[in-house]
């Protein structure tokens, strides 16, 4: 098992398998997107209270979940990079931050657009929205910190500390609807309980979540490959690839 982890740490190995992985991940992503969009926009029946405006859920919820998921990946890669000094985790963290920031922005904006017909207002300073906004600022701060250093190695480790400090925000966002009385609706999908949402509405949601996840993995793989080429530009295997 150690050998497998160490292999992953080698940039060349990662580059080779990521080419294979990209193909499958992109296919899954496209299929899930088409399925999720068709199921969500066409097949799912209109909501009893909200009418057709509830269909925004199919972009809002996946974007929000991804914004949290990517931050956890940021913090985890940062921790691994601090403890074990693995180059790949540096690259993964650096590369995921802009993607995560874009998803956070997407969650906030689709949420605001959905809020207008549902609650009557675009924005309210309740716990979940405010902490999601803080998450956006944390992402932007992380990106700013990374670009302030010339040495990418130091940048990655400094960013890791910042990401680990901000990790406290993630449980706050997740549990904010349970801990405080907020305008935002409570969790509809919990792991152990029967979901309170109908199956025809649930399945497109799950498809869209998978689509967003595989989208993130696909984009992260493309960017990671570019960074690996930059990091290892002096090694022979890179020169062979570029020479072709």
């Amino acid at each position: 098992m150690y050998k497998w982890i160490h292999q992953f740490g080698s940039p060349k190995y990662f580059y080779d398998i990521s080419l294979h992985l990209s193909k499958w991940v992109t296919i899954v992503c496209i299929v899930c997107f088409i399925g999720g969009l068709y199921g969500g926009l066409v097949l799912a029946p209109a909501d009893y209270q909200q009418g057709d405006s509830f269909r925004i859920i199919y972009v809002h919820v996946p974007a929000a979940w991804m914004s949290l998921f990517i931050y956890v990946i940021l913090a985890t890669s940062g921790a691994i990079s601090l403890i074990w000094h693995i180059k790949i985790t540096d690259i993964i963290a650096r590369v995921s931050a802009p993607i995560g920031a874009s998803f956070t922005f997407l969650a906030l904006s689709t949420g605001a657009i959905w809020g207008k017909p549902m609650w009557g207002t675009y924005w309210v300073w309740d716990a979940r929205l405010t902490s999601e906004l803080i998450l956006l600022f944390l992402y932007l701060g992380y990106i700013a910190l990374q670009s302030a250093f010339d040495d990418k190695r130091i940048a990655a480790r400094a960013g890791a500390i910042l990401a680990l400090i901000g990790i406290i925000n993630i449980p706050i966002i997740h549990y904010s609807v349970e801990w405080w009385s907020t305008l935002h609706q409570g969790p509809t999908i919990t792991k152990l309980d029967k979901p309170s949402i109908h199956l025809t509405m649930l399945i497109p949601l799950i498809l869209m979540v998978i689509a967003f996840k595989t989208f993130y993995i696909a984009i992260a793989l493309i960017k990671t490959r570019s960074e690996i080429l930059k990091y290892e530009c002096n090694s022979s295997w890179v020169k062979k690839i570029l020479g072709n």
């Binding site: 600022f137 701060g141 700013a144 130091i154 500390i161």
Partner: protein, 224 residues
Amino acid sequence: MSEYINIFNVILKRDLMLAFRDKTDFINSLIFFIIVITLFPLTFGTKSTIVNEIIPGMIWISALLATCLSLETIFRSDFEDGSIEQLTLSRYPLTLLVSAKIFAHWITFGMPLIIISLLMGILLSLSNEIIIALFITLILGTPILSLLGSVMVALTIGLRGGMLLNLLILPLSMPVLIFSTVAIQNAALNQSIIAETYFLAGILVLAITLAPLATATALRIRLS
């Protein structure tokens, strides 16, 4: 154990002496604080009463901004003349030395801020409950700001572009600000503020235990 306490006191005394020898930083931060507080009523017009409702919030935001500006001083001069590297190389744990410096920073900047805030509160005729709530939230909140801020300073010393430090500190200070202002609002309504006090105390304890460690790690990273 006693030699750890000794070295803590030595570093604390050194930083306090340095801060009071050249009083400009300390006085500038207080003057900045007072000026920002006076900016708020200026923008609202002389006859409006909105200002009276937001005074505690004003004081808190001004304290936050003044602390952000004062944080630059913690490690800057030591970084420039190389003392930080000496500290890193000493046989005492860097976490301990760093916590002494943070404590010195809080004494020179946080404590005067609290005293002046209370004076401002009395001058602006706030009710007693609000002043007590302001005092409690400030005395719990300013150390948190010093501690969190020191980690950010350690990450960003010597980088070009001074705004980066503030960009990093302000999002992390938002929870402290939110809890403090909720506490003050509750105090204005004569309700108990014990919940927010517990939350702030919890964040403070978390910061006291983890921030010096994070600062020491960040300094080591920057010096490598």
